[in-house]
């Protein structure tokens, strides 16, 4: 195994609201190695996006606050960094693609200006060189007529095209890690497949590591090598992708996998699609114990006593459930 590129250790990001402190991320550990694709999955509201935003400190502070933990980038903690030191890492080392292509581009600048901006900041390119590189990037993400379209404004592009622009922008400075936060959620199904394919192509070309955040298990199955499952602000299971789908250990993961629709199966066996009953619990003053317990069909009194820790059960498979680790954590 290669060395870790990004190590998130016991990250806690909380938000102050009128009703109390929301523990959106409450002790998350995620490691991403050079060149690997890690899928982070979970229902919406379970803290995936906040985790991703915390890496580059893109959460609004206030109301957000990183209360605890470390974000080690090649061994260096990003949390205590000054704003300008962090700016050197943003886009250059770690780049992001966001969920909403329709609103993630500034409507008053041409897409060329917006891509070139990062190039001029990080690669110190001249205006002309930045433009050339921008056109090249647009061609790479398969935007037809790139040398003309570089002068167009975002509203002249469709959603899928804008997401291509976002990907071109994110990859323009050849980052070592790309964080893609639900990059296909807002798009039509047919476009989703194209964007995922484009991401795979780009990964093959640039060799960067990818942290792919999604709520769709199917997307993870196709693209990731390793999967991290999050629930209510914590990681509850982590495993290589094949292992996870073959042998899901946590009841929540099992529920997620069962809720993937299978066209072939649905057509032959008239089995109903299963949903996990209930909703993600409140994140203000959460009750002690496993946060999934209220929705878990295997829940027992011991589950409500203490939060189970993430334990290695062999072969890089980690799970946070007392059923798997045999009894209460110390």
């Amino acid at each position: 195994m290669s060395e870790p590129l990004l190590e998130i250790r016991d990250l806690k990001t909380h938000f102050a609201t009128d009703n109390g402190i929301v523990r959106a991320v409450d002790g998350v550990d995620i490691t991403i190695r050079r060149g690997e694709t890690v899928g982070v999955v979970g229902e919406s509201g379970c803290g995936k996006t906040v985790t991703a935003m915390s890496v580059l400190k893109l959460i609004a502070m206030p109301p957000g606050r990183i209360v605890d933990g470390q974000i080690l980038w090649q061994g260096r903690d990003l949390i205590p960094l000054e704003a300008d030191e962090l700016d050197d890492i943003r886009a250059k080392d770690i780049a992001m693609v966001f969920q909403e292509p329709m609103t993630s581009l500034n409507p008053v600048y041409t897409i060329g200006e917006q891509i070139a901006e990062g190039l001029r900041r990080h690669e110190k390119l001249s205006r002309r060189a930045a433009l050339e590189r921008t056109v090249e990037m647009l061609r790479l993400v398969q935007i037809a007529n790139a040398e003309k379209r570089v002068h167009d404004y975002p509203h002249q592009f469709s959603g899928g095209m804008r997401q291509r622009v976002m990907i071109a922008m994110a990859l323009s400075c050849s980052p070592k890690l790309l964080i893609a936060d639900e990059p296909t959620t807002a798009l039509d199904v047919t476009i989703q497949a194209q964007i995922l394919e484009l991401l795979a192509d780009m990964k093959a070309r640039f060799g960067m590591a990818v942290m792919l955040i999604t709520h769709a298990m199917g997307v993870v199955a196709e693209t990731a090598q390793r999967v991290v499952v999050m629930y209510a602000g914590r990681v509850i299971e982590e495993a290589p992708v094949d292992e996870l789908f073959a042998n899901p250990r946590h009841p929540y993961t099992q529920g997620l996998i069962r809720s993937i629709p299978h066209i072939d199966r649905a057509a032959t066996t008239k089995k109903r699609l299963e949903a996990i009953p209930g909703v993600v619990p409140r994140l203000i003053d959460p009750a002690p114990g496993c946060r999934f317990a209220p929705r878990c069909r295997f829940a027992m009194p011991a589950c409500r006593l203490a939060t189970p820790a993430l334990r290695d059960v062999g072969g890089g498979h980690k799970v946070a459930c007392i059923l798997e680790t045999g009894g209460l954590p110390q």
Partner: protein, 319 residues
């Protein structure tokens, strides 16, 4: 852009017509003969009154009177001032530049205060600076211009005797001295208007910036590592300015009101004080013309606002 401009122009025409209908309706609804008063006014010769009665054709049907009046206004023929004994058009042209200069200066100063203060306050919402700025803004738009004017006179003219409180058009000096005297006498009236404007503008800039600062593309800009300064100026302020520009121009009607008061306090020979003195002298043609001209100016400024809006927002001009 050209098509957009044409559309805005075509929309402005019904606005002007609508305004003229409203003004004429007010005039037509007014009880009695608006020129009746002139009979008792010794300044008005009988033949002028007769001429006016005929010109306005007061016995014709309303529609015909309206079109005749509109045609005269369109040709810039505003009639004859009884009080000043010159053409109303000439009178307005004499007075208008002073008013426009005072309003323009006040608007510039207000922007120079409101933009930095509003942006800075919005980037640190609920900080001490924000709270102080917000309180000052409330004080600013709760102080009516007539009271601010009197306060300034009390402090700077009466207490310290630094600034003149009567505006003089005929300053007997040349060169720098002439310029300096003009600046000195403009300080108080311009400050009164600027304070009034800056107060509401600051609040508006602040909320506009706050609206933009949490948008996704600002996060995108931050993720590019551009640095907070560039993010704020290039990606936040530039976008937040679009509604602010509109407001600056939409505030102009209210600003005319402020100008009337200010001109009255400092006795500035602008169209505001002309309006008041004409009302006091029952000089109907001047009153109508000044109201009409200020309404036309407002439509004109709205048109400029639309053009700027299209220029600032590519979604409109390229759409």
């Amino acid at each position: 852009m050209g098509q957009y401009l044409l559309k805005r122009l075509l929309i402005a025409i019904p606005s002007i017509l609508g305004i003229s209908v409203i003004l004429f309706t007010v005039l037509a609804l007014a009880p009695g003969d608006p020129f009746e008063e002139l009979a008792t006014n010794p300044n008005v010769p009988a033949e002028v009154r007769e001429m006016l009665r005929q010109k306005f054709g007061l016995d014709d049907p309303v529609a015909i009177r309206y079109f005749r009046w509109l045609a005269a206004m369109a040709q810039g023929d505003f009639g004859f001032s009884f009080a000043s004994r010159i053409d109303v058009g000439d009178l307005i042209m004499q007075r208008l530049p002073t008013t426009l200069i005072i309003i323009g200066l006040a608007q510039l100063i207000a922007l120079a205060i409101a933009l930095p203060v509003g942006v800075y306050a919005a980037t640190r919402p609920y900080s001490i600076f924000d709270q102080i700025a917000s309180t000052f803004a409330f004080v600013g738009f709760s102080l009516p211009p007539f009271f601010t004017g009197l306060l300034l006179i009390l402090v700077f003219s009466i207490q310290f005797d630094w600034l003149p409180f009567v505006y003089r058009a005929d300053i007997e000096a040349t060169g720098w001295r002439w310029f300096w005297e003009h600046v000195r006498q403009a300080i108080m009236p311009v400050s009164v208007l600027a304070l009034f404007l800056a107060a509401s503008l600051t609040r508006y800039v602040r909320s506009s910036v706050l609206d933009v600062i949490r948008l996704d593309y600002v996060t995108t800009a931050r993720a590019k590592g551009l640095g907070e300064r560039v993010v704020i100026t290039k990606h936040v302020v530039r976008n937040a300015l679009i509604p602010v520009v509109t407001l600056v121009f939409l505030q102009l009607p209210a600003l005319f009101g402020g100008a009337i008061v200010t001109e009255q306090i400092f006795r500035i020979p602008g169209i505001g004080s002309l309006l008041i003195s004409s009302i006091l002298a029952n000089d109907t043609p001047v009153v109508m013309a000044v109201t009409f001209v200020s309404a036309i100016l407002v439509v004109l400024f709205n048109l400029i606002a639309d053009i700027l809006y299209g220029w600032l927002d590519p979604r409109i001009s390229y759409g």
